[in-house]
């Protein structure tokens, strides 16, 4: 029997750290060749790691959510034959990573038993145990009504050490538990009653499930895509002084045209939503405002503008927000854009989107569709400098030539990086988009 160590593979240029998002095996499992062992995630793409050999898992290289350096030990198997690491070496130094950067070292050498023991001692997102509520028929103990001492502000709850420890384990703050014991002492029974939520209805004299107190606490580890989203959002908001501009657009003509186009060409070319038309308007507006299709490297003080319009489309997926990119939107007519959006959205939702399909946008459009609301404050997809948000279309009374008429109105809420985009320019850019949308023929002429 030999030891075979699988290291974290290099998943692409410039990637130094990869996050483990799922283990499909546990120590002791027997695996065959090509069986998927783990899911790991880089910047945005999730990659499955298959086993190159058949064997028995002896240890995992990290907990879920942990980032491992490329080249760090990912998994260790016992295999028939020699394996790829000598037993002696394996015992002494689990990881012999070439990439010995400080950051890599930091995570590259977890002692293996250590990790296993730790994982078993501290199960990750275990919801704090809140025992099931009793049937309402059970009457609350009479104690509930008895004169439990009301604690004054800042007064410490009084409970024996055993009750304190149990409260910690249950995740209950004793400050909120009434004590029925002498001098307001909190007893085990008080804690049970509190956890069971029996006290909730005491004030009304009867149990009322609608108003019962809830005591569950559910810790969720923010890992994987959600962690990436959190980091990106935090970075964007921390680094970019956002400037948000909201303008209303009369889309009556645009909607009429869209319905016409769908009626006439829908069968053969596919139906158009508003989004591809808006993309075209953005592409046309970018001709006069090229600084909006840009990426700003604030550390190098370099603003790179792009002649191309690689438009990111914010899409909701089951695991969270993703931004697939319609590359070279300037070269697509609305139907081509629509098809590409549909393809990318599907890829993103099914988790098949490639890294290339998820990076490289130069401006982003975000739309919540029917949930678009009146106004949003979009967060810029850093390092871009502009994001255009679409709000809901509503029929609204508008004054036209002195008379009130019903028009289809839609707000555009757009945010800009105020470090490099001045307010005036931003406003002019949005007005330009509005111009194209309100006179939709121009979308096809220019």
């Amino acid at each position: 029997m030999g030891i075979h160590v699988i290291k974290m593979p290099d998943l692409g240029e410039g990637i130094a750290e990869v996050e483990v998002v799922a283990w499909h095996v546990q120590p002791g499992d027997t695996v065959r060749e090509d069986q998927v062992l783990a899911d790991v995630m880089t910047d945005k793409a999730t990659v499955e790691i298959p086993s190159p050999v058949a064997g028995t898992i002896t240890s995992l290289g990290g907990a879920i959510g942990q980032s491992l350096a490329v080249g760090a030990e990912l998994i260790r198997l016992e295999v028939a034959g020699a394996g790829n690491i000598s037993a002696d070496k394996a015992r002494k130094e689990p990881v012999q990573s070439g990439a010995a950067t400080a950051a890599a070292e930091e995570v590259a050498e977890p002692q293996l038993e250590a990790v296993a023991a730790h994982a078993s001692a501290a199960p990750a997102p275990a919801p704090a145990a809140a025992p099931a509520k009793p049937a309402p028929a059970k009457s609350a103990p009479a104690r509930a009504a008895s004169g439990a001492l009301q604690r004054a502000d800042g007064e410490k709850p009084l409970a024996p050490p055993a009750v304190r420890q149990r409260a910690w384990d249950l995740g209950v703050e004793l400050q909120f538990v009434p004590g029925s014991g002498p001098a307001g002492r909190i007893t085990h029974a008080d804690l049970d009653a509190h956890v069971a939520g029996r006290r909730g209805g005491a004030a009304n004299g009867a149990m009322d499930e609608r108003y019962s107190e809830q005591h569950g606490e559910h810790a969720t580890q923010i890992i994987g895509l959600r962690r990436k989203i959190a980091e990106k959002m935090q970075e964007a908001k921390r680094n970019i002084p956002h400037f948000t501009y909201v303008e209303e657009v009369d889309v009556t003509e645009l909607e009429a045209l869209r319905l016409q186009l769908n009626a006439r060409y829908g069968q053969e070319r596919g139906k158009l939503t508003l989004l591809p038309l808006l993309m075209r308007a953005v592409v046309l507006a970018l001709r006069s405002y090229p600084m909006m299709s840009a990426r700003y490297d604030d550390e190098a003080n370099t603003l790179t503008t792009y002649d191309a319009a690689h438009i990111g489309i914010a899409a909701q997926t089951e695991s969270g927000l993703m931004v697939p990119v319609v590359r070279h939107a300037e070269s697509r007519d609305p139907w081509s854009s629509a098809a590409e959006i549909a393809r990318l959205a599907e890829a993103a939702r099914s988790g098949k989107a490639t890294r290339d399909e998820l990076t490289g946008s130069t401006i982003t459009i975000t739309s919540l569709g029917a949930l678009g609301g009146i106004v949003t404050t979009p967060v810029i997809n850093r390092p871009e400098v502009a994001i255009v948000g679409v709000n809901r279309i509503v029929d609204r009374p508008v004054i036209r030539d002195g008379a009130m008429v019903a028009r289809k109105m839609m707000n555009l809420s757009s945010s800009f990086d105020h470090r490099v985009i001045d307010g005036m320019v931003a406003a002019q850019f949005v007005q330009s988009i509005r111009g194209y949308l309100e006179f939709p023929a121009t979308l096809f002429v220019e």
Partner: protein
């Protein structure tokens, strides 16, 4: 250089560190403990244990001297007692060795790897250990997920009177080669008084110099009174409100409150003016942790300002007590194992092994008043306790402090021979949230000093039986 990887790395094998190690071992956390000297820290090696041993020996010797003076009412007479100090110190060292060896065995039993040598922190996850010179061992590097700092404390040195020559700290005082003829003790805190009293009983002329207005400034005046009269009876000279200015030859220069300077002859000068956290010389500065004065700042879970770096024991400041350190160590190990724990003791007891002993747990009457609590207190003197009479020590009392409205016990204080052992009951009653009635209605064994505990509670309720 060999690299050891572990989950938990503990720096320091004193009561804080070794308890954290044992508990971590029990919980299955891979743990490495680094200790430069003997395991057991200050407490076992140069603190609590050896000082209590020396105090016991001094007490026994003083008793024989008392009998030799033929003044004992017990009718016991002895002739010309003497003490072989070398043997005394060897006996004390034997106890220390047994205990430190025991700590090592406990750590080993729980699978904790002990690395001998002085640790040097490189960053929050890496420590280098330099072995002792001449040990022939290579330095090792240890990497960890959790770093637990438990470096302890040192005796504070007076800048104008550094340790060396006749000027000694408690460490040297606990391994005397001879009984000094004249000893000056600087500082009338519990360490100075415990050791000063012991040397007086061994035959030294002892002068205690204290800058404050009274001895044991941390304790209330009633508690301290029996200790003060005992010092007087033993012939310990106490100079209060007096500052030490420095050494001049073999004399200690002092100045009293009125500005009068004096010289005190001394063969040995024991400086016992407090302890300070051991924060230098081992790379702590590399972590740039938030500090709380001279101590490392920690929250109620003993977390420092750096993630997964923890600090416990004397390093985290007052109260510098071994039992507090142990409780912190146990807690941190449990938190690292994934349990939810907080350091929220209802009371941390403290004991002075003066003659007679002082023990406190929870609030004194003054502290309760300062906290704005409407409290009652009552004390019961040992002069009314039968057991106290039978051991010739009727000095002292037990005092209880409780809330007036619901009789919840807030604190206990006692002074008297042997009262240190009452600490367990005191602290337990506070932790359990006992009321005066709980203690008053508990049958206390007769004849014991503990009856004074029950009587104090009864007296607070207004119906003491034996007074």
């Amino acid at each position: 250089m060999e690299t050891i990887n572990t989950t938990l790395l503990i720096i320091g094998g004193g009561p804080a560190g070794y308890v954290a190690g044992i508990r971590a071992g029990q919980l299955g956390i891979p743990t490495v403990l680094v200790e430069g000297a003997q395991p057991g820290g200050t407490c076992l090696n140069i603190g609590c244990i050896p000082s209590k041993a020396l105090i016991h020996a001094a007490d026994e010797y003083a008793k024989t001297m008392h009998y030799a003076a033929q003044t004992s009412p017990l009718g016991i007479k002895v002739d010309a007692p003497s003490i072989d100090l070398e043997k005394t110190v060897a006996w004390k060292d034997g106890i220390v060795k047994r205990l430190t060896g025991g700590v090592g065995a406990l750590l080993k039993k729980q699978g904790v790897r002990v690395v001998r040598g002085w640790a040097r922190v490189l960053d929050g996850k890496t420590v280098e250990v330099q072995p002792h010179e001449g040990s022939g061992q290579e330095p090792v590097r240890i990497r960890c997920e959790h770093l637990l700092l438990a470096s302890g404390s040192h005796a504070v040195e007076l800048p104008f009177m550094p340790f060396g020559g006749p000027v000694i700290s408690s460490t040297e005082a606990l391994s005397p080669s001879e009984v000094p003829r004249r000893m000056v003790v600087v500082g009338a805190g519990y360490i100075g008084l415990e050791l000063g009293t012991a040397f007086r009983k061994l035959g030294s002329q002892v002068t205690v110099v204290e800058a404050a207005e009274r001895i044991l400034p941390a304790y209330d005046a009633d508690l301290v009174k029996p200790v003060a009269s005992s010092l007087e009876r033993l012939g310990v000279e106490v100079r209060l409100a007096t500052s030490v200015l420095g050494m001049e030859g073999e004399r200690v220069k002092v100045r009293d409150a009125s500005g009068v300077e004096a010289y005190l002859e001394a063969d040995r000068v024991l400086v016992a003016v407090g302890r300070k956290p051991a924060t230098t010389g081992w790379g702590l500065e590399h972590l740039m942790l938030d500090m709380n004065g001279r101590a490392v700042k920690v929250d109620e879970q003993c977390r420092t300002s750096m993630r997964n770096v923890w600090a416990i024991g004397d390093l985290t400041g007052e109260p510098m007590l071994a039992h507090r350190a142990m409780a912190q160590g146990e807690m941190v190990a449990e938190i690292i194992a994934g349990k939810r724990r907080w350091f929220h003791p209802a009371a941390i007891p403290a004991v002075c092994y003066t003659d007679p002993e002082i023990v406190v747990a929870g609030m004194s009457p003054g502290e309760a008043a300062a906290a704005g609590i409407d409290a009652i207190s009552a004390s019961f003197p040992f002069s009314a306790n039968g057991r106290a009479m039978t051991i010739e020590s009727t000095d002292g009392f037990v005092r209880v402090v409780a809330r007036k409205d619901n009789h919840l016990i807030l604190g206990w204080q006692a002074v008297g021979v042997g009262v240190a052992e009452l600490a367990a009951g005191f602290t337990q009653s506070i932790e359990l949230g006992a009321q005066l009635e709980d203690v008053a209605r508990t049958i206390h064994a007769h004849p014991t000093l503990g009856e004074a505990v029950q009587e104090a509670a009864l007296r607070a309720l207004g119906h003491a039986l034996h007074i």
